[in-house]
């Protein structure tokens, strides 16, 4: 047959997708933004000699320049250091919340999606309940019960963050389990666990990863908002939200713009980077969703 003459090349899906991603300009830009900010946060001690928490009463409220590139706050703390060290915690909270939510969502979603039945019905109702309840209020209820702290914040994010992944994975499982290749597996007598984890799940991972980026971005924004109103991370710990907290007072907005502009932009750029990257990933991994 003529088709046999074609050159035989071993193909790799991962490589193909990687090249497609490289061609997406916004995704590359997003990744660069994300990467630069992330590296700056990780390498904070190399970039600034100051500590984010040390008070320096002789340098209170200094505008940017010289020793303090982003100025100092009213307690004399270096804003640049606070942005870098704060970024570590903010990103860590956002990422771990999103990861935890993803794992929970994937487990529950694949179970419900493959088996269906009453357990599935219950989880769908729970998901509906949690998603109708404004997340911010949920955080407040939790805070009333558990008190403040980074750990509690992450627990809350996981608790609210699994919903989107759950819906997505469940939906994909519902459609994928009807696909003929899954029926073929069942006709061969392949075990359910193998069908779920080795045959169906890999087909959901693209959208799940996209959702992970979306959730990470969303949680970083939420952490900032919560810390901004004093409901998030304890005020002693530097995070992007806590750093921007000073702008709550009207006077500071005009008199000390460097207090909030730098951390605000840091959040915006990082989240923007994550979102651009996530969008690019979606185009590559999940073209149908577009």
């Amino acid at each position: 047959m003529s088709e046999n003459k074609k050159k035989i090349v071993k193909s790799s899906l991962a490589k193909e997708n990687f090249y497609k991603l490289l061609h997406n300009r916004l995704a590359v830009l997003g990744f660069m933004l994300m990467f630069v900010i992330l590296m700056a946060c990780i390498l904070a001690p190399l970039l600034t000699p100051h500590s984010p928490t040390d008070l320096n009463l002789r340098h209170m409220g200094k505008p940017p320049g010289g020793e303090h590139p982003f100025g100092t706050d009213k307690l004399g703390r270096d804003v640049f250091a606070r942005v870098l060290y704060g970024g570590r915690i903010s990103i860590a909270i956002g990422l771990s919340g999103a990861l935890g939510g993803m794992i929970l969502g994937v487990i529950i979603g694949s179970f419900c999606g493959y088996y269906g039945g009453w357990l599935d019905a219950i989880f769908v109702k729970i998901a509906e309940l949690v998603s109708v309840f404004p997340q911010l209020l949920l955080v407040m209820v939790m805070r009333v019960i558990l008190g403040e702290g980074i750990k509690n914040l992450i627990i809350i994010f996981v608790f609210t963050g699994w919903i989107a992944t759950f819906r997505l994975v469940r939906g994909r499982f519902f459609s994928l389990r009807e696909e003929s290749f899954v029926e073929a597996c069942r006709a061969f007598g392949i075990r359910s666990s193998s069908i779920v984890f080795r045959h169906i799940l890999p087909n959901c991972l693209g959208p799940v990863i996209v959702q992970l980026t979306l959730n990470t971005a969303g949680f970083i924004l939420q952490e900032a908002a919560l810390s901004f109103i004093g409901m998030g991370v304890p005020s002693g710990t530097p995070t992007w939200g806590n750093t921007i907290n000073a702008a709550k007072e009207l006077l500071n907005i005009t008199n000390y713009p460097w207090l909030w502009v730098a951390p605000g932009l840091a959040i915006a750029f990082f989240v923007l980077g994550v979102n651009f990257f996530g969008d690019g990933l979606r185009d590559v991994l999940d073209p149908k969703q577009q």
């Binding site: 035989i8 071993k10 193909s11 003929s180 029926e183 006709a187 061969f188």
Partner: protein, 338 residues
């Protein structure tokens, strides 16, 4: 066709899908997809199942492969001379029996896992059903691909690199990788272009000859079914209305539905003078099938008995291989002549 040649015997198979409603998922009815079907499949033959969408042909096929659990009935399978009910096997026997019956699906595009290479898709079933080592498995896969006229090296490729016809041939090869006796083919060519259909159909015929396979061939296209099958069962609303060897079904179709179905098929031959029988209306819903004969709502010969009493699928007095479920079968047979 003797008793000992029976490979599979279906007795009173029923498959109902519940219809639920309300918050509490109360059962308000059932779609009677397969409603009391008894059939025999003989070793080495091709049994064609033909009917319009919603007649239950795919459901029946999936019951045979045990992708669906029938609500009632038995499926006796010939395990080397011993007939045993597939539905009452224990877990281990049931697993071993799976390699005897395989399926080829309608849509070649969704039949292969897009994330796995052809090799990966073949490897797992072979591994769990035999004790071949890695090298032997690779060899077997290469042989199977060659058997469907594909280059063995293709096993390292992903499904999206193949055309529809190639994929369907890969699917056929995959079904054969556990060395089955019975292959249920569910509309294997209806998703393919006309010029490709013949390639796949001929391929299937060749493989059947070479490997002594038995096929249950499901399709909505009567001409394709006729080309492939030794015997044909015509289905309507979950039941078999007529079952006969392909030739005699065409020459002496007895059931009014078969007659209408045959006459509705457009034939690419302008010399053929055919009288077309146009059925009125649509197929009734399988959730609420008519009482009595399933076909009476659209039958031009319908009379009082048909409305009340459901006819049984019985052999004709003159031709024991020709089964019809119609109260008028014998009269109509007499009219058609022999």
């Amino acid at each position: 066709m003797t008793e000992s040649n029976v490979l599979l015997e279906l007795n009173n198979i029923k498959k109902y899908f519940p219809i639920t409603a309300g918050i509490f998922r109360r059962e308000v009815g059932a779609v009677r997809a397969v409603d009391d079907i008894s059939l025999r499949v003989y070793r080495g033959e091709t049994l064609g199942l033909v009917g319009e969408s919603g007649c239950g042909k795919t459901t029946l096929g999936k019951c045979v492969v045990r992708l669906l659990e029938p609500n009632s009935g038995s499926m006796q399978y010939n395990f080397g001379g011993e007939m045993r009910d597939l539905l009452s096997l224990n877990a281990q026997e049931s697993f071993a029996a799976r390699r005897k019956i395989q399926m080829v699906f309608q849509d070649p595009y969704s039949s292969l896992n897009p994330m796995k290479t052809i090799y990966q898709s073949f490897d797992e079933p072979i591994r769990i059903h035999s004790d071949r080592n890695k090298e032997e498995r690779r060899e077997l896969i290469a042989r199977l691909l060659e058997a469907v006229n594909l280059h063995p090296e293709y096993m390292y490729r992903y499904p999206h690199e193949f055309s529809g016809g190639q994929r369907q041939r890969i699917c056929i090869a995959r079904a054969l990788c556990v060395d089955p006796e019975l292959v249920v083919c569910d509309e294997p060519v209806s998703a393919l272009d006309v010029s490709i259909q013949a390639q796949v159909l001929n391929q299937m015929k060749d493989l059947q000859e070479k490997l002594g396979l038995t096929y249950i061939f499901i399709a909505h296209d009567l001409s394709v079914v006729e080309y492939m099958s030794d015997r044909i069962a015509v289905m309507y609303l979950g039941q078999v209305l007529e079952l006969a060897p392909a030739r005699s079904l065409y020459d002496r179709h007895i059931h009014p539905y078969t007659q209408a179905l045959l006459s509705a098929v457009p034939v690419p031959d302008i010399r053929a003078k055919r009288e077309r029988i146009i059925l009125e209306g649509d197929v009734p819903s399988p959730a609420d099938p008519p009482q009595g004969c399933r076909f009476h709502t659209r039958c031009q010969y319908c009379h009082a008995r048909c409305v009340e009493e459901m006819p049984k699928l019985e052999p004709l007095a003159a031709d024991p291989e020709h089964f019809v479920a119609c109260h008028l079968a014998e009269e109509r047979f007499a009219a058609v002549g022999t």
